[in-house]
Structures are given as C-alpha cells and as structure tokens.
C-alpha cells in the first residue's frame, strides 16, 4: 500500500498506530458488510421461495420470538462493534498524543499563510532561531514539538507518513508531536480548504540523520553570500530596487520584509511556490514573470521585468544556496 501521501506507508510510530487502527476498522467493517449483504440476500431468497399469500401470512408466535431474538443479537453485536471502534480510536489517540521518551524535543513554530508555510525553529539561544519557508527538515529519532499558528484563515498541517492532521487556527496555538523513525523525503500538505490555492499549498519534509540535520541547520543560519559575478550583482540590484523587496527577506541584504516567503536559501530548496513547481531556472523565471498564471489568486503580483533584468535576477537567486 505505497503511493505518495499514503497513510499506510508509515515512517513514524504515530502514523504506524493510525495505519493499524485504519486496517482494523477496514477489516472489521468489511466482514460486517459481507455478513449483512449475505443475510439480506438469504432473506430475499427465502421470501421468494414462499410464493403464496398464505405462506407470507403464516407468522406464528414461535417464529415471532425467534425473529425478535435474532434482531436483539444483531443490535447488541452492532453496539458492541461501535464501542470497540470508540475504544480503539481513543486508545490510538492517547498513544500518539504525547511522546514517551524524555529526550529534549526540537520546537518548530509552523505558521500557515495563504498559500505557503513558514517554519521557525526555536532554540534556547535566540541567535540560533531559524526561519525557512515551505521546507521542513527534522532529525530522525528525535521528538519534534510542532506549534501551529495561522496568519489569516484556518489551515491544517498534514504529513501523512508521520502523523494525522491538526488545524492551524488564527489567534490560537495548537500543539502536536512528531517523530520520524526513518529517513526520507515526503510532501506535507494543507488539509483544510483555505481559499483559491488550497490545492497548491504543500511543503517538502526531509527527515535525516542528526548529523546531516545539524549540517543543514548551520548552513541555513548563514546569511546570503554577497554576489560575485557581474550578472548576479545586477540581479541583486534588481531584487533590492524593485517590487521583490516589498515582501521578501534575504538575510545579509536590505531585503527584510516578512510578508512573503523567506528566500535566503531558496536555491537549496527542491520546489518553489509552496510545492507547486520543481525548483528549476525556467520555473523560477516563469513564476516571477506571472505567478497568477500558475497559482491564480496568489498574493504575489505579476512582475513584467525586461529579459536582461530577469536573467540577472534568476542568476542571483541561483547563488542563494
């Protein structure tokens, strides 16, 4: 049972429990379904074999009692099954709500925006706080505390391979726990309709060994290197003198607005525009030129830059590893 975004293709103990519950309910429900359909078919056949009116009217006290007992048993079994479902669901919910180990968790603040994700890694040292967009890296085996916030409307955070869904509600803090037990890359997505581009609000999840994670963390904390070749220098000037600067941040430059996604290390990300497009040179240019063609309604306006400026800008963005 493996396809992208499958809840049965698990990578953590929480998703494992959820998958086990799903299998249990699917199995029991399938058996119940088959039994009920078989009983109905049997009843229809028996009614057909008694063609005459007299036969149908022939209900004796004994038959009546037998039928009442059968209906009573069926009702009791149904109630019992539903109670078993409730108990199993509650037990699963309890088992996945909180991590059992006392290991120091990693805290990540997730903010949902129309239509992209912002991740802020918290640390006891404020200078180690890290902000990224649309890309979530987590170390394998360490519990991660996810704090869910929203900037505008209700979104829902869902990485099917790791855990169930949890809502991001404006003006409210939700908390959930994650732990990846094996390395991998998955797509997370928004699971609550949040406007025009709800379908194109995804993020990349990368679970990696603690050493690799630390390496990534340190590389992300660094400011953007100043551009060296002439085209990239021109691209930097385009970025800080045109519309880009109104919404985006590139650490190490005057661009520091918090409206749109942070772009300090955009070239290191696998996708752009919240998982809408693979991060290639051509897609970057297409996206900057007219995001409304790719994600109609997205808050980024079209940027009809002259070809030379666009080339320089993309050259510059590609240096932001």
């Amino acid at each position: 049972m493996s396809w992208p975004g499958s809840i049965f293709d698990t990578a953590g103990s929480q998703a494992e429990r959820i998958a086990r519950l799903a299998w249990f309910i699917i199995t029991v429900s399938t058996i119940t379904y088959v039994v009920v359909i078989a009983a109905t078919a049997l009843a229809v056949r028996r009614a057909r074999s008694r063609r005459t009116h007299d036969d149908l009217a022939d209900i004796r006290a004994e038959t009546d009692r037998r039928l009442a007992r059968l209906v009573g048993i069926a009702t009791a079994v149904t109630t019992l099954l539903l109670l078993v479902y409730v108990t199993a669901t509650a037990r699963t919910g309890r088992a996945i709500a909180w991590p059992t180990e006392a290991q120091q968790p990693l805290t990540i603040e997730v903010t949902g925006h129309q239509w992209w994700w912002q991740f802020r890694y918290r640390d006891t040292v404020p200078s180690n706080w890290l902000t990224t967009s649309n890309e979530l890296h987590i170390p394998v085996g360490r519990p991660v505390r996810i704090i869910l916030l929203s900037n505008d409307v209700i979104h829902s955070f869902w990485v099917p391979e790791l855990h169930g869904k949890q809502d991001l509600i404006p003006g409210h803090r939700n908390t959930m726990w994650l732990r990846a037990d094996k390395p991998g890359t998955w797509k997370g997505r928004c699971a609550e309709f949040c406007g025009f581009q709800h379908a194109k609000m995804a993020f990349d999840v990368v679970a990696e060994s603690p050493e690799k994670f630390n390496q990534w963390y340190v590389s992300q904390l660094a400011s953007a290197p100043p551009p060296t070749d002439s085209s990239a220098i021109q691209g930097h000037d385009v970025f800080v003198q045109r519309t880009c600067i109104m919404c985006h941040t590139i650490a190490g430059t005057p661009a520091g607005s918090g409206v749109g996604p942070e772009l300090t290390h955009i070239a290191s990300r696998p996708s752009i525009a919240a998982g809408s497009l693979p991060n290639t040179r051509q897609n970057l240019a297409r996206w900057i030129l007219n995001p409304q063609l790719i994600k109609p309604g997205v808050k980024m306006p079209p940027n009809p830059l002259p070809p030379a400026d666009m080339k320089a800008l993309v050259d510059y963005l590609e240096t932001l590893k």
Binding site: R242, T243, M246, S257, P296, P301, P304
Partner: protein, 192 residues
C-alpha cells in the same frame, strides 16, 4: 389570491434575484492579474486644473478598483502588511497625516493618492516608485478612500484582522473631501 397574482409575484421575485446578481457582480469581481490597470496614463495626471498658456486636454484616469470589495480588502491587507500604519496608524494619523478625515493635502481622487504613494511627499512620505505594481497601487488607493468614507458602504470592509481601533470602513460616514488649509500640517494640530 388567484393564479395571476401568484405568477406576478413569482416574476417579481425572479426579476429581483436577477437584478441583485447584476448589481452585485461589480462589487464581487476579482481580477487577479489586471495588467490593464492604468499606469502609463498616470504621467499625464495633474493635481490642479490651473495651467499657464493653453491648457492641455484634461486626462481622467479611471480606477477599476473603486467600489470593488475584493480590491478594497486587498488594499487593506497591503496597508497592514507594508506597515502604512507605522505613520498613518490605521488611518488615524500620527507621524503622518490622518487618512480618515475629510482633509486632503495632495488630493483625494484615486489617481492623486496613487501619485502620492509613487512619488512620495515632503516631510516623510517615502516614494514607492517601481516598488509596487500598478494594480496594487489602485487597491491601496481604493482602501485609503474607504477609510475616509469616500467609497460606498457596500464594498467597504466591515471588520479588522487586528484589534478594532476605530469604526469599521463600512460604517464610516461619507464625507465631502476638502483641500487642506495649511499644507503639510496634519489636521489634528489645527484643532484646539
């Protein structure tokens, strides 16, 4: 009640629903990519009709954002996100002049407001030339006008995303704009 009356009532009801639809569509129209938003014509806009010599033909720029609920609410979002409140404080003014009164130093027409944002004004208003796309300029202007009650109430916003600090725009009384008596001076300081 006979059949005819019922039929007439039904016709009136259908007509009413259709009319509502026709009237409401302009308010609700959402243009995501309005590259036709007037920008080149802005260069010909003047703030005063008085000119030496033979006057040039008068240029009017029509803002498509006027009376459009989507554009006004986008303007409101941008006003917050780009920190216009840093100086204009949700329209109440502080370092910058208030925007919710009837006094306009540099004109109250949408094209005047766009020109003010693009060019900047003395004593603090920065120039946003080249930093904001034309469509967003018109959205901002439409919102600023709703702050002063220069938009009709129907498309104006009825709520704030942050703590409510003033009467919302849909309940702001409609005011007649007037030119400022003393230029560059916030109206507040003139009051006793």
């Amino acid at each position: 009640m006979n059949d005819l009356t019922i039929r007439r009532d039904r016709l009136v009801a259908i007509g009413f629903v259709l009319a509502t639809g026709v009237l409401a569509c302009r308010r609700e129209e959402r243009r995501f990519d309005d590259s036709s938003a007037a920008s080149s014509a802005l260069a010909a806009v003047t703030q005063d009709t008085l000119q030496p010599g033979v006057p040039r033909p008068h240029v009017t720029v029509v803002s498509r954002s006027e009376g459009n609920a989507f554009d006004i609410s986008e303007g409101k979002r941008l006003f917050d996100q780009w920190n216009c409140s840093g100086c204009h404080s949700h329209g109440g003014g502080n370092m910058g002049p208030p925007l919710m009164d009837d006094e306009w130093i540099y004109g109250s027409a949408p094209e005047n407001i766009v020109a003010t944002i693009v060019e900047g004004r003395p004593n603090g208003m920065p120039s946003f030339r080249g930093r904001i796309q034309p469509q967003q300029l018109w959205q901002l202007a439409a919102y600023v006008r709703s702050l002063a009650g220069l938009q009709s109430k129907a498309p104006s916003s009825g709520r704030d995303d942050h703590m409510q600090v003033k009467v919302d725009e849909s309940r702001t009384p409609i005011r007649t704009p007037r030119a400022s008596a003393s230029r560059n001076t916030p109206a507040k300081s003139e009051k006793p």
